[in-house]
Structure formats: structure tokens, C-alpha cells
Amino acid sequence: MKIYKQTFGDYAFTFLNGLFFILFTLLCIFPFYYLFINTISDNTLVARGLINFVPRNIHFDNYVSLLNVRDIFQAIWITTARTVLGTIAMVLASAMVGYLVTQQKMFARKFIYRFIIITMYFNAGLIPWYLNMSMLGLTNNFWGYIIPAIVQPFNIILVKTYIESIPGEMEESAFIDGAGYFVVFSRIILPLCKPILATIAVFGAVGHWNSFIDSLILMKGDPRIYTLQHKLYDYLNYSSDLGKLFNQGGTLTGEDVAAALNNRVVQLTVAMVTIVPILMVYPFMQRYFQKGLMLGAVKG
């Protein structure tokens, strides 16, 4: 390292530059903090908009009563089920298809690969998509969340590129030992692909947890399978009776609680419950997303 004398200009630059980044970062995370302190502070103060930087009269009743609202509990359950099932199915399918399209022996391999990949670049549009889903009986049906999202061309490209970078000897020797395609896939390819599969799993899970357009459009007729995001959207839009709903479901009684559990508090609490899982897995997935983004830049 060469010794370099810092001039005044350098210090000023570093200071201003650092200041800018610190301010921008605060801008990014303050809203989350603000949301959080508003759900744990005294509800009457929250309703009047008096909690800005410091929480006051901390309590967790809002979260407790939220758990008792069956509506929300159902939405949490549906969203979790969808995220887990959808991600597992998508990851396995991507791995399988990504592996199969690397097999030179396959009948019409080139055509099949293009047939899959080209679907990234066009879509029929909203209405045909809706009509198609209703024709297949996937509207107002939980499987409508999972089945259409199984084959993801982009993830297939990622897995394929990754598999192509693995030396082929292991696979070949397994074939010589008499292993079939399934054995090679499950015993050799799957374990070797773990890093890339973790990456697409993270993105897939976040996508499933966050998606709400499909719930909004396809599941209109069956509120039992609304996702959490969709419920939150409804709460933010039609806020009139929220406090009531919250209190009916809750075990808390008494006038002051009824007055305290106002719409604003309910909306913020539901939002917090929706955000928390993302923030909780964020440190774990952080390792993977940069890798994923870089891989995305090199397409095969």
C-alpha cells in the first residue's frame, strides 16, 4: 500500500460523501422503525399522530389481538403455505429442467430449450391470462398460486448455466457405474447445485410472499384464500370497520380498548406483521442475492 497524504479536499469529500450515504440509508430504514414504534405505543397517542421518534407506553396488545382475528390468521396461514409449497415446487422443477436441458442426448433438446426460454419475452396480457386461468379451473382455487409459478424460465437459465460450469466427470462416472438419470440428478446434481438453488429459492420465496395481484384478480370470489398482502391492501383501502372487526375477534373487551384499537393502529400492525418475515430472513438471504443478480447478468 502506497502511503498517500490526505488533503483537506479528500477529508471534505469523504465527509460529504459519507453523510449523503448515511442520510439515504436513514431514509430507507426510518419508515420501518416508525411503523414499529407506532404499533407498540399507546394507541390513543398513535391515533392522534403523536408518536414520531420515541415509543411511549410500550405494550404488545395489538399483536396479541391480531392473532385472535381469524381473518388475518387464515391469511398468514395461506401465505405461508403458498410460499413454502410454491418455492419447493419451483426449485425442484428448475433444478430438474435445468439439468435435463444440459443432456445432449435428449430428443429435440435445442427446440425444447428455446420453447421454454422464449416465454420470458412475451406475455398474452392480463385478460387472456385471467380467462385462461378460469378455463383451467384455477380461479378461487389455492393451487392457482402454485401451479402456474412452477416453471420459471429465468431460474432454469440460472441452473443450466451453473450445471454447465460443473465438471462433467462425476456425472459420467456415475453413468458408467450404472446409475439412471434420476439417481444422477438426485445424488449428484442436486447437492452440487445447492448454492444456485438457494439463490433461486430466496428470490422465489420473496416473490411468493410479496405477490398480491394474483390473489386480487384470481381469488376474488373466495376470501378464505386471500394472501396476507391482499388482506393488507383491503385494510388500507376500506378502513371503516376495521377497529370493530379487530375487537370482535379479540378477547379484549371494554370501552377504552374499543376506542383505542382504531383503524390506524390495525393497519400499521398488519403491515408490520407482513414485513417482519422478510426482515427476519433478510440477513440469511443477503448472502445469496448478490450472487443471483450477478448470475442474472450473464445469460446463457
Binding site: 425444447i112 387472456p128 398488519v270 407482513t274
Partner: protein
């Protein structure tokens, strides 16, 4: 040769029958006006609900008996079973002689099962016509029954022929299949999925050329040709609306494109910070907003900018305003606000790719620049920026190709009647037109279709441009 030809005919028949099971117009279960015209045999066979859902009232009033509905569903199930066995037969027909023999046997059985299903459906039709109040449920004999009867019959013939023609397999033969077909069969389920969810919707484009009433199947009587295209251009109010929507779309995409250098600057200035720990912290924290959905962004906007929110509370505590207002209900500066939210959510994330590219710039270039006496900013401008240009260029071209698709989520969650004029982008407009407010399904389909065609063309042009300018393609 003869065997090959027969098997090819058999496979073609099987594929045709299986495809027909997904076409609503050929649905043999369409026995009554109360069964959705939008459902295919596949739908009816996998869910009883798709048959029975409209019969609740009819059952309560006694217009129809439960038994006739059950028979209908049994018919659909049996036909569906036939289709499934046909599919299995198709897979087997790709194997060796022994496997093909089995496949042929199966396709023979499947054709019989399918025909039996059609017979059950005929019986169900009789039961429906004989029900207490047939005029209420208006039974109709679907052309699908005849069509499927013919198709199953056609499958039967080559199966019998193949059974006769195919030579007897050797006594000690095993079931085997060539690797090339084995691999094909392994990928087949996924090809079916992608056909169902990516290619089949294209068939819905036909709606753009018909008069469409939801739930009613399209017939050639409703064919209106380019009526909706003409409507788009001739109808005064639609034209004005489209004009406004296009302006919004292009304006918001345009602002995005014009500021697409921001993430690059973010990355360049961040990498000027000496401390690795600091850089990593900033990078981690500024990417968080990218991982929350637009609904959550809206809930954050709601927490901060609504009447009791942070923003109003700050202003009033500084004595700037007396009474808070809900800023989300205002229709002013929508383009700018949408851009700001988009930047808040995406800036840190978009910068990652540049941050990674910066690390791959050759350090020797910086050393050489230092030797030549370049200062900090000169190095940024003459070394870093040129090093990032190719990444920037690719992203810019992709952005241009996506100029019409700014997505729907963001604009949908921020939509309120007050900002209707300026927030509606093409995607949101199509949603409003076709699903939410109106019944303008054909018009919405047409607009979506034009959008797709234009986007694909733009992508193609961008790709050509990239090939021409940089010698490598972007897609």
C-alpha cells in the same frame, strides 16, 4: 416402415384428443346452459365444483335432481380417465417393441373408456332433459360429445392396426426406452405446464376480434373483425383516454430512463468510501426496501403521509400547518411522486450490479491514471465510468424495450380517484377496462395484445442495436 407409420398416426390421434380436452368449445360436459361455457373437459373432470357451482338454486327449487348432476360428473371423470390413460399410452409408445405393445394395449383400453364416458354423458343428457323443469336448466346436446366420440374412435383404429402389425417381442425382452425419449418424457410434464400457462393464453387473443359477454363461449356469430381496433381510434372519449394513458406511461418510463444513471453514480460514490465495513452496511440497508412488496410500500407511505402521519405531525409541530391533510389523496405531481417511491425502493438494489462491476475493473488502469496525475474525479470520470458503460448500456436498452410495461402493482396501490388522470399507466388501464370497472373485455385484450406486439418488436430492435454497436446480443 409400416409399424412406424401406424405408431405415428396413433400418436397424432392421441395428441389431438389430449389437446381437445383443453378446448372449451369441444367440451362434451357442456350439457346445460348452467355449466360455464368457459370450462374445458379437463376443468370439469378435475373439479366437481366447475359443474355444480351454478346449480345451487336449481337444486334447491327441485328443477333438477342431484343424481343427474352426479352422472354428469361421473361421465366427465370417466372421459378424463380415458385421456389420462391415453397420455400414458403415448409415453409408452416411445419405448421399445415390448413397451409399444403395452402402450397400444393401453390406448385401446383408453379409447374404450373414453367412449364409455361419452355414453355416460349421453345418459346424463337424457336425465337432464327428463328433469322436472328442463326449461330452467336448458339442456343442450354438446357437439363435444360427437367430437370426442369420433376422436376416441379414431384412436381405436390405429391401436388395433398397430396391435396386428407390431411384431411379437422376444420372450426374454425387457421394457426399455432409448435415452433420447426417456429424457424427453422426463421434461414433458414441464413442457405441458409451460404450454398451459404461457402459450395457451395466446389463444385468448381471439377475444379481441369478437363481441364478448363473460361466461358465454365465442361463436362465429359474434365475430366483429377489427371493430375494436377501429373503436380504439374512432371513439372520441376512448381516444382521449388512451392518449392520456400513453402519456402517463411514456412519461413515467421516460423519467425512469432519464435517471437510470443514478444507480451507477450511487455505486461509484459508494466505492469511493474507504471502509469496507461501511460500504457493506450501506449496501445491506439500502437494499431492504427492494424486498418488500408495493402494498407494503403503500402502507409505509400511508403511515408517513396520511392525515395523522409523520409528515403532517412534523409540519404541524414546526407550526407550518394547522390541519393535516392526506397527501395520498392528492392528484398533484403524481409522476414525480411515483418516481420518488420507485427510487426509494430500487436505488440501492440497482446499484449492486454496478458495485460488482466496479470490482472487476483492472486496478492497473487506476494506477496508470494516478501516475498521469489524474485526481479523484478525473479517475471516476475517465476510468470508472467507461468501465461501467457496457453494463449501463445493456440495462438502458432493456429499459427501452420495456418502456410500455411499467408494471401494475405500484400504480394500483397508489391509485385513488383523485389521481386517476395521471397515475393510470397502460397495465393499470387494461385492468380497469377489462376486469375492475368495465366489461370492455375485447378492448382491454386488444390493448394488451398491441402492447405485447410493440414490446417484442422493441426488444428485437434493441437487441439488433446492441449487436450492431457492441457486437453482442442482450437477450
Amino acid at each position: 416402415m409400416k409399424e412406424k407409420l401406424t405408431m405415428a398416426v396413433l400418436r397424432a390421434c392421441i395428441i389431438a384428443t389430449c389437446v381437445a380436452a383443453f378446448i372449451p368449445a369441444l367440451n362434451p360436459v357442456q350439457l346445460s346452459g348452467l355449466i360455464s361455457k368457459n370450462a374445458s373437459l379437463f376443468t370439469n373432470a378435475v373439479s366437481y365444483n366447475s359443474i355444480g357451482s351454478n346449480f345451487v338454486r336449481a337444486l334447491e327449487r327441485g328443477w333438477v335432481e342431484q343424481s343427474s348432476l352426479s352422472v354428469t360428473y361421473i361421465g366427465a371423470l370417466v372421459a378424463g380417465l380415458g385421456i389420462v390413460i391415453l397420455g400414458a399410452a403415448f409415453c409408452l409408445s416411445l419405448g421399445n417393441i415390448k413397451m409399444q405393445k403395452l402402450g397400444v394395449k393401453l390406448s385401446f383400453i383408453a379409447a374404450l373408456v373414453g367412449m364409455a364416458g361419452m355414453a355416460v354423458l349421453c345418459a346424463a343428457y337424457d336425465m337432464l332433459t327428463a328433469s322436472p323443469a328442463p326449461e330452467r336448466i336448458n339442456p343442450a346436446f354438446p357437439t363435444g360429445i360427437a367430437a370426442f366420440f369420433v376422436m376416441f374412435g379414431l384412436t381405436l383404429l390405429p391401436s388395433i392396426a398397430a396391435w396386428v402389425i407390431l411384431p411379437k417381442p422376444a420372450v426374454d425382452a425387457h421394457y426399455a426406452i432409448e435415452p433420447k425419449y426417456k429424457l424427453f418424457l422426463m421434461i414433458l410434464p414441464f413442457l405441458v405446464l409451460i404450454t398451459l400457462f404461457a402459450y395457451l393464453p395466446l389463444w385468448g387473443w381471439r377475444v379481441a376480434f369478437f363481441d364478448y359477454t363473460p361466461g358465454i363461449d365465442l361463436t362465429m356469430n359474434d365475430w366483429v373483425g377489427f371493430k375494436w381496433l377501429q373503436f380504439l381510434f374512432r371513439n372520441e372519449s376512448t381516444r382521449a383516454e388512451i392518449y392520456q394513458v400513453l402519456t402517463n406511461t411514456l412519461a413515467m418510463s421516460g423519467i425512469g430512463l432519464a435517471t437510470s444513471w443514478l444507480p451507477m453514480m450511487f455505486a461509484i460514490f459508494l466505492s469511493e468510501m474507504r471502509s469496507t465495513k461501511f460500504r457493506r452496511r450501506i449496501q445491506t440497508l439500502t437494499t431492504i426496501p427492494n424486498f418488500i412488496s408495493w402494498v407494503l410500500v403503500y402502507s409505509i407511505a400511508f403511515a408517513i403521509f396520511s392525515t395523522e402521519g409523520f409528515f403532517n405531525s412534523m409540519l404541524s409541530s414546526m407550526g407550518l400547518i394547522e390541519q393535516g391533510t392526506n397527501h395520498l389523496n392528492s392528484g398533484e405531481h403524481i409522476w414525480l411522486k411515483m418516481w420518488l417511491w420507485g427510487t426509494w425502493k430500487g436505488l440501492g438494489w440497482s446499484a449492486i450490479i454496478y458495485i460488482a462491476s466496479i470490482t472487476s475493473i483492472d486496478p492497473q488502469l487506476y494506477e496508470a491514471a494516478t501516475v498521469d496525475g489524474a485526481g479523484r474525479f478525473q479517475k471516476m470520470w475517465h476510468v470508472t465510468v467507461p468501465g461501467l458503460m457496457s453494463t449501463f448500456f445493456v440495462l438502458l436498452l432493456l429499459g427501452i424495450a420495456n418502456v410500455l410495461s411499467n408494471g401494475m402493482d405500484q400504480y394500483m396501490v397508489f391509485y385513488v380517484p383523485a389521481n386517476r388522470t395521471h397515475i393510470r399507466v397502460l397495465d393499470l388501464y387494461v385492468y380497469h377496462l377489462g376486469l375492475k370497472e368495465g366489461d370492455q373485455v375485447p378492448l382491454a385484450t386488444l390493448i394488451g395484445m398491441l402492447k405485447t406486439v410493440i414490446s417484442v418488436t422493441l426488444l428485437f430492435v434493441a437487441n439488433k442495436a446492441s449487436k450492431f454497436l457492441r457486437g453482442e446480443s442482450i437477450v
